[in-house]
């Protein structure tokens, strides 16, 4: 085994690319859960975003349109969930699981004739001088625009939740929908918007996967990334800043195990491929041991169906 083949700078750069789809999806789900809705369909929305973004990018030749279309399609499928749970009072867990399965199936169908095609190139930015600096240049100034976008989005969501009235109303709806309703806030409308935002973020994450990270379309290519995003929301205790830590931790373990495989570590690759998921489970268990803090941060109405009695 040759560990010297693993370069720390390359590791960090590819870690950020590996984490971005999960970070995007987790940020969307964070907003959804803050509004009191548990949407387990992240995986389904992600893969729909992946396939639709891929198709749009290949057809138009523009990765930007691909991202846009991926986000729109993610939001569109999330509306199935939204109408079922918010207007028809369907159970959120069952509907979310259904959405995941629906999304996986629909994506295979849509993507059938797109396997093996290369999408248009989405290149990294290059700032003269800055990007050429050793180490720092590649880690800070050498990414593609979507990575910067995901970081900016994290900050924007933090600012929205903690500093704006809209964010306060969103948190209030997730905290107690009955109280919010009594004060005259439109609980269902706010939740519909939150779900749509979550769908768009998941779709964007999926499109990043098929356009940048892989970059190809393959059936079932999200490979559980949506579920990891859900876990990261809990790990982050519903705080955007911590979602970055969670996503990068997962991305880091993923990239590291790939590098270890390449370096020829004498462990079966099957075990190495497990490590990111195992790490997620272990971290979640550790986080969950502090019940009191957890329940303080969790939106109190999470997953409960709102029914206006008046």
């Amino acid at each position: 085994m040759d560990l010297s083949s693993i370069s720390p700078v390359t590791l960090i750069v590819s870690l950020m690319a590996a984490s971005t789809p999960i970070l995007l999806a987790a940020l969307g789900e964070l907003i959804v859960e803050k509004s009191g809705v548990l949407n387990l369909g992240v995986e389904g929305m992600m893969i729909i975003g992946a396939v639709c973004g891929f198709i749009a990018a290949v057809t138009t030749g523009s990765p930007w349109l691909g991202f846009l279309f991926g986000a729109i399609c993610g939001a569109a499928v999330s509306m199935i969930f939204a109408v079922l749970t918010q207007y028809l009072m369907a159970n959120q867990v069952a509907t979310g699981l259904g959405l995941t399965m629906f999304g996986l199936g629909l994506a295979s169908l849509l993507g059938h004739s797109y396997t093996g095609i290369n999408p248009p190139l989405f290149s990294q930015i290059h700032i003269p001088v800055l990007s050429d600096l050793p180490v720092v240049g590649r880690i800070v100034f050498g990414h593609d625009p979507m990575i910067y976008f995901s970081l900016a989005l994290t900050f924007a969501i933090w600012y929205f939740l903690t500093r704006t009235r809209g964010g306060l109303v969103l948190r209030a709806v997730g905290e107690s929908h009955d109280a919010a309703h009594a004060l005259g806030y439109k609980v269902i409308r706010i939740r519909m918007l939150a779900i749509a935002f979550g769908g768009a973020c998941a779709g964007l994450g999926g499109a990043y996967l098929s356009l940048v990270r892989v970059p190809q379309w393959a059936e079932g290519m999200t490979a559980g990334a949506g579920w990891i995003a859900l876990a990261i929301v809990v790990f982050a205790s519903w705080k955007p800043g911590r979602a970055i830590i969670g996503a990068y931790l997962f991305g880091g373990v993923t990239v590291l195990q790939l590098n270890l495989q390449a370096a020829g570590l004498a462990i079966s690759p099957a075990y190495l491929s497990m490590t990111p998921y195992l790490a997620t489970i272990i971290v979640l268990v550790i986080m969950a041991s502090d019940k009191k803090r957890q329940s303080l941060n969790a939106p109190a109405s999470l997953g409960k169906t709102f029914f206006a009695s008046t």
Binding site: L168, A182, G184, S295
Partner: protein
């Protein structure tokens, strides 16, 4: 002079029930007007129409002589109508300032708002720290949050729905002081309560509702609580007769009971010590959130403690679960009817099975004896006058009072040696409450020990033989209920001079 608010012919029907039928009355500027009625009389619906949460089917409302038809709370607030809710309108995980900002339509920046909150709360004598989490506040403080939220908008009409149900007598005095000051400044108040003594103290006029209709008006100061109650109910009330109390042998002995609360906003029990005798009704008073729920959980067996902390008829049961305790004769009825005492979507028969199967032998080697269970449920329904079409109906289809009669009846029918009840008559109309109290007294008379946890002091004074106060998870010394005044209890409830149970 034009009345501030004029209502006429208001009607609102829901499927199967007319909540308000041709209701009309007037409120003058600076008047404190009481709205009286039993549960289900239509008070809440009426108030929701005034606040824009519900739209009337027909009828007219006029504010300052002009047509007033708010289609949402925002419109009502803009017109000068503010409302203090009974519950459901605060967010525990948000700060006081955030809670207040949510109730305002044009909330200023956080810092400016915090200053305003301090100014208003000082002006009306309602101490409040804008930065604290609402979940950490006492019930009285929470209500101040609601009131300050209303006052910041300079309302012309303040609607208060059961404002004192969670307050200590001293807190009630502070509240009334605030209300009088508001009234003197010309604010009208619509005051909803079923505490008749308070209505006599604070209200100028009263409108009485029964089954959605106005059945009378009165000047509360010229009436007695009894005459007003009879107007509400429509029949004469009988009050339970107190029997002489002679303590029998100790049935339940609790020593240094400790129980850390699992709820982040709950209260841990600390060193709770008392004994309950045969034939005794022990009343435990206290403001909500001082450990009442935890005490019930520890006694019912839902939360286990050190084994020696609780002894029933000489046997330690602290680490035994509910069914073991039931078999030994300790039964309990928690406060929350739907979801804790009864499973909302299950039938009354199934609910009867849930707590009754061990003691009533309703199962045989794990198989349910449905016939016997149904008979048991029917017996409860009959004996406790539960108004329902039948035992096969879901628990949630019953009104609060009827379900409470069923829940209490289910335990009493099992002939417990010790019965623990939490808030047995909370949100229950006057006649059902009287019935339940009577049943509890009868149980004690037959030699059982009854522990009643309640926030309703009048209730405790009426039925208790002995008396203690739970404050911040500690139980005061148990004293005889005769000769205790409401003022003394109030001080204990506020946590002042709590003398810990002597060893």
């Amino acid at each position: 002079m034009t009345p501030l608010l004029h209502l006429s012919g208001l009607t609102k029907a829901y499927p199967g029930v007319v909540a308000n039928d041709n209701v009309g009355f007037e409120i003058a500027p600076g008047e404190v007007h009481a709205l009286l009625g039993e549960n289900g009389a239509g008070k809440s619906t009426l108030v929701k129409m005034i606040y824009g949460l519900v739209r009337p089917d027909s009828g007219e409302m006029r504010l300052h002589g002009q047509a007033f038809a708010p289609h949402e709370p925002r419109a009502a607030r803009a017109a000068g109508v503010a409302m203090v809710f009974q519950h459901f309108s605060l967010f525990e995980a948000l700060s006081v300032a955030e809670n207040i900002a949510l109730g305002m339509d044009d909330a200023p920046e956080t810092d400016a708002l915090s200053d305003e909150i301090r100014t208003v709360s000082k002006k009306y004598g309602l101490t409040l720290d804008p930065d604290r989490m609402v979940g950490d506040l006492s019930a009285g403080e929470r209500q101040r949050v609601e009131i300050v939220r209303c006052l910041l908008q300079n309302p012309k009409l303040l609607v208060m729905d059961e404002p004192t149900s969670v307050l200590t007598p001293q807190e009630v005095d502070v509240l009334f002081e605030t209300l009088r000051r508001l009234r003197d400044e010309g604010t009208s108040i619509l005051y909803i309560s079923h505490k008749l003594e308070e209505i006599r103290t604070i209200c100028d006029n009263a409108t009485i509702l029964r089954l959605g209709k106005v059945v009378g008006t009165c000047v509360p100061a010229e009436e007695t609580p009894r005459t007003m109650a009879e107007m509400m109910v429509g029949t004469e009330l009988k009050s339970p007769t107190k029997r002489p109390y002679q303590p029998g042998p100790v049935l339940l002995d609790v020593k240094n009971l400790q129980l850390p609360s699992k709820d982040p906003f709950g209260t841990s029990l600390r060193d709770v010590t008392f004994s309950l005798h045969a034939g005794e009704v022990l009343g435990v008073a206290g403001v909500a959130g001082n450990g009442q729920d935890e005490l019930l959980l520890a006694l019912s067996g839902e939360e286990l403690t050190q084994n020696a902390a609780i002894t029933l008829k000489g046997a330690a049961i602290g680490n035994k679960g509910p069914n073991h305790r039931r078999l030994q004769g300790l039964l309990a009825a928690p406060e929350e009817r739907l979801g804790h005492a009864a499973a909302p979507d299950m039938s009354l028969t199934e609910n009867a099975l849930l707590t009754g199967h061990a003691r009533q032998r309703l199962t045989n080697k794990g198989f349910v004896k449905w016939q016997a269970t149904q008979n048991f449920a029917r017996a409860i329904i009959e004996k406790f006058d539960v108004r329902t079409p039948g035992a096969s109906h879901a628990a949630k289809s019953l009104s609060g009072g009827n379900l409470q009669k069923f829940v209490i009846g289910r335990e009493i029918m099992q002939r417990p040696d010790v019965l623990v009840v939490n808030q047995p008559t909370w949100g229950v109309d006057a006649s059902a409450a009287a019935f339940i109290r009577e049943a509890l007294l009868e149980l004690a008379e037959q030699g059982a020990g009854v522990l009643v946890i309640s926030q309703d002091l009048d209730e405790l004074m009426e039925i208790s033989d002995t008396f203690a106060v739970l404050s911040e998870g500690r139980l005061s010394r148990v004293r005889s209920a005769s000769g205790v005044t409401i003022e003394e209890i109030g001080l204990l409830m506020g946590g002042t001079e709590v003398d810990h149970a002597a060893a």
